[in-house]
């Protein structure tokens, strides 16, 4: 399979590190033929040109934390592993801007920025991911309420298209309206438009202090009754998060405030939440992490080599705050699922254990969609195949016809992560 005239030889001739793939390289059950390790944007382009010449389907992987999300690829010949694209290319602290290669781990970047008392204000709910993976999956965390999501902080991008074209958009200044914002299209595109080579972000100064106001042991309806006042508070919380481990037990709410006057502002939030709430200088254990489904016996997250939540069903709900009480009193009250998420931005994630009856999981997704109708979206981020077969992964997608036309233009031969995304894109 890796003969003297094949893709392997062509890539070796271009100086790109490549090895034959094995079962451990499988993407959602689909095993590629090769794994390539480009070190530069030009090497990505070389991989893409060879892949184009040999009609190879390409999937890109960072650390693999969300590689099992979305639908399995229809085919996958070439896996591009970005681990050697690991350079922080430019960090001009005075400009509050950083340019990084896609394979840089989020934590590594955070450490480098913290040394200059700065941060990329994204807090993805999974540890160990890369910058490119975070962008491709469009992951957001609690502080999206204050800072926006990856698409709001991305100011420039370099991508390599399916035919090997290197293109960039945006730049390294925050304020810039020259040309189309390709970064927006690539953020959350699940690798279906091309390969993200590097990204430039707007940074924020690290807050001088942080405080959490934590209210454990509350009932969902109690919490939801006071959340609107907290969200609207001029104490300006950076995040308002909920953890509901199980439907019959209590839930916890935690509110983050950041800034020199964090302690004072936390007190103002506590006054709104009531005296059961406490001010803490550390987040609760569950803060900013995906929900962990309760289940008997060892779960998928504790399997050696397993990734958090892998094997289980993970669903994301995006809606508006006014629909949350109905959801918690309705479909969410009738499921064993663990729920975590952002009450102020109305983004919740719901987790069911791997052993959940597929019919029950599908019924939950349907019930959530029925309850929200036009006022929200319910997306199945990951699910074992028996569940995935029974549900519509993406649900309603506005503008799908336009999305297909964009895909056709960027990747006319459907070789970039084919079938993984909305509408089978």
């Amino acid at each position: 399979m890796n003969g003297a005239t094949g893709p392997g030889a062509a890539l070796a001739a271009a100086g790109v590190t490549i090895r034959p793939a094995g079962p451990d390289d499988a993407v959602a059950g689909v095993t590629p033929r090769w794994v390539a390790f480009p070190e530069t944007t030009r090497e990505i382009a070389a991989v893409m040109r060879v892949s184009a010449a040999h009609d190879l389907a390409v999937v890109v992987a960072g650390a693999g934390t969300t590689l099992h999300w979305g639908r399995p690829p229809e085919r996958c010949d070439m896996l591009i592993d970005t681990c050697r694209l690991n350079e922080i290319l430019e960090h001009e602290a005075g400009d509050l801007v950083v340019r990084v290669q896609a394979g840089v781990p989020v934590e590594t970047l955070a450490e480098a920025l913290a040394a200059k008392r700065q941060e990329l204000a994204l807090d993805p709910p999974l540890e160990g991911g890369t910058v490119g993976g975070l962008l491709a999956a469009g992951l957001a965390g609690p502080r999206a309420l204050r800072y926006g999501t990856a698409r709001d902080l991305l100011i420039g991008i370099t991508v390599v298209l399916a035919d090997g074209t290197i293109a960039k958009a945006g730049g390294k200044v925050v304020k810039n309206v020259a040309g189309y914002d390709l970064g927006k299209l690539f953020t959350g595109s699940y690798g279906t438009l091309g390969v993200i080579a590097d990204a430039t972000f707007r940074l924020h100064p690290l807050p001088t202090a942080r405080a959490w106001v934590v209210w454990p042991g509350a009932a969902p309806d109690e919490v939801l009754a006071v959340v609107p006042a907290v969200t609207a508070s001029q104490a300006e919380p950076s995040a308002v998060e909920l953890d509901r481990p199980a439907p019959d037990g209590p839930c916890a709410v935690a509110v983050l405030v950041e800034g020199a006057a964090a302690a004072e502002r936390a007190q103002a939030v506590r006054d709104l939440l009531g005296e059961k709430a406490r001010v803490a200088d550390e987040p609760p254990r569950w803060w900013g992490r995906l929900p962990e489904p309760g289940h008997p016996g060892p779960g998928p997250s504790s399997e050696p080599g397993g990734r958090p939540g892998e094997g289980g069903v993970l669903v994301e709900i995006r809606t508006v705050p006014s629909r949350l009480p109905g959801l918690f009193a309705g479909a969410l009250a009738r499921t064993d699922a663990a729920v975590r998420g952002s009450l102020a931005s109305a983004v919740l994630r719901v987790a069911l254990p791997a052993e959940t009856d597929p019919a029950a999981a599908a019924a939950l997704v349907s019930a959530l969609r029925a309850e929200l109708a036009d006022a929200g979206r319910v997306v199945v981020l990951s699910a074992p195949e028996p569940v995935a077969r029974r549900v519509d992964t993406w649900g309603h997608v506005g503008g799908l016809a336009l999305m297909r036309r964009i895909k056709d233009r960027f990747d006319p031969d459907r070789r970039m992560s084919p079938g993984r995304f909305v509408g089978g894109i």
Binding site: L96, A167, K184, A232, A260, V379, G399
Partner: protein, 485 residues
């Protein structure tokens, strides 16, 4: 486009639009011949004033049927000629689509038609303690539809971001004449993000859902006068280095101050080489902390006078000079060009020195007004249009300022857009491959290039045209200067 085709089209429009919504009278058409960039003028073939999305869609479909280009226009305040009409085309004006359709306070959002003015949204929710954050200087008259097309900014976008960060949903009419709903809730490609700032080339927004922001508990505005622009620049750098993100940091040089004084009598401190306006907002305790630091930094970097607004009136007085600056230079110069370039903040001193050299070299005065916090310069290039050759020299200086911005890793436009004015600079900032890739988006939305053609991109390829053999990496990328675009 022959007049006969436009005549037939006007008849068809009249059949589907309300009375008085189709304009073909040359005298009335002239009203629409330019936007805020008056340098470029073109008489539109036909002007239509639709009242609903369905009417916009019907107009667009008819344009497609007759293969006639169309341009959308809101209030016509844009400064890059984005709404410059086509003599052979139709101008779709949204001024009759002015309803605020819904205000949803529990979910902090409002749904409005594109002709609603930016400020009208804030006025509708101010009593409840909310506002719409992006605040372009023209906010009293500019339309939200135009803001979406241009991804409008404003003085406060340093802290709060641009239009694109505050749009939660759009109903658009595609260049095919289809009505499509885009929501920030939707999975899939971020079409909302791609559409905002596309300058009318991907369709027309007919309904806009905006985020409403909670008004801050406290606002403090401070004016600091420095002997030189370098002093003001040092203060800006020190404020950022102290980890403070003010709501706005604005700077004006001596010439801009002189103009503002002549125009509105803003009574800024005499003898200032630079005036800095810093606005801090947020929770009161936070603002107090930051104010103490900012005041100290200004003194340490050589401010000789500091004023603090103690009331809304005093704040307005401080802002008055800044907000009037563009128009004010009309008092000290017969004509001027408003430029809109961006540089990394750390490159500001070098770029300002470069602008000084250009002034000397060409004998042209430049008044500098800028959003110093994000490196967005608005140099006002002054000239006398009656003096032979001066207009050309001013245009050269204006263009060379953009070259300076590009050389220092900046952008040719921070908030005014590319429009018709700057499309020729796009190849200086982007490679052919970059522009071809952007064109893929255009072709996906508008393969026939009927929606605002001739804007943003310099002579784009036709959508069926296959680009030539790739030459691989751009020479600038190869030499390691990719970030220099």
């Amino acid at each position: 486009m022959s007049d006969a085709v436009l005549d037939r089209l006007a008849v068809r429009f009249a059949e589907l639009l309300p009375a008085g919504a189709v304009i073909t009278d040359p005298v009335r058409l002239r009203t629409y011949e330019c936007d805020g960039l008056t340098l470029h003028r073109a008489m539109p073939g036909i002007v239509v004033l639709p009242e609903t999305a369905e009417q916009v869609a019907a107009v667009v479909r008819l344009c497609g049927e007759y293969d006639v280009p169309f341009v959308a226009r809101g209030s016509g305040t844009g400064l890059s000629g984005g709404a410059l009409p086509r003599t052979d085309g139709v101008l779709i004006v949204t001024s009759r689509m002015r309803r605020i359709l819904e205000i949803d306070m529990p979910n902090r959002r409002a749904v409005v038609e594109p002709g609603v003015t930016n400020l009208a949204i804030t006025e509708a929710v101010r009593e409840q303690g909310y506002y719409y954050a992006p605040d372009p200087s023209s906010q009293q008259v500019c339309s939200i539809g135009g803001n979406v097309a241009e991804n409008a900014g404003g003085a406060h976008c340093l802290k709060y971001g641009f239009t694109v960060n505050h749009i939660l949903g759009l109903e658009i009419v595609t260049p095919d004449g289809e009505i499509v709903e885009l929501s920030a809730l939707d999975p899939g490609y971020d079409l909302l993000g791609a559409f905002v700032g596309s300058e009318g080339t991907l369709g027309i927004a007919t309904k806009i859902t905006v985020r409403l922001s909670r008004a801050p508990e406290a606002v403090t505005t401070l004016l600091a006068a420095f002997g030189s622009i370098e002093g003001g620049g040092a203060a800006v750098s020190a404020i950022i280095a102290a980890g403070i993100v003010p709501a706005a940091i604005e700077m004006m040089d001596a010439l801009a101050v002189e103009a503002a004084e002549a125009a509105v009598g803003c009574a800024y401190p005499e003898g200032a080489g630079a005036v800095l306006i810093v606005e801090l907002d947020g929770p009161r305790a936070e603002v107090e902390h930051q104010f103490t630091a900012v005041e100290r930094i200004c003194r340490e970097t050589g401010a000789f006078e500091i004023r603090v607004a103690a009331s809304t009136e005093e704040r307005a007085a401080i802002w008055k000079g800044r907000k009037s600056a563009f128009a004010a230079v009309g008092r000290i110069s017969p004509a001027y060009i408003v430029q809109d370039g961006v540089v990394p903040r750390t490159a500001l001193p070098e770029v300002l020195a470069g602008i000084d050299r250009l002034q000397e070299e060409y004998g042209i005065r430049v008044a500098n007004v800028f959003h110093a916090g994000d490196g967005n310069l608005h140099p006002l290039v002054l000239f006398d249009d009656a003096a032979p050759g001066e207009g050309e020299r001013a245009a050269t200086v204006s263009g060379r300022i953009l070259d300076l911005c590009i050389e220092h890793g900046g952008s040719i436009t921070g908030e005014h857009g590319v429009g018709v004015d700057k499309s020729r600079y796009m190849p200086k900032m982007f490679t052919e491959e970059d522009l071809d890739t952007m064109q893929l988006v255009r072709c996906a939305f508008d393969p026939r290039s009927l929606s605002n053609p001739g804007k943003v991109f310099p002579t784009p390829r036709l959508c069926g045209e296959v680009p030539g053999v790739r030459k691989g990496v751009h020479p600038l990328v190869e030499s390691g200067r990719a970030e220099q675009f």
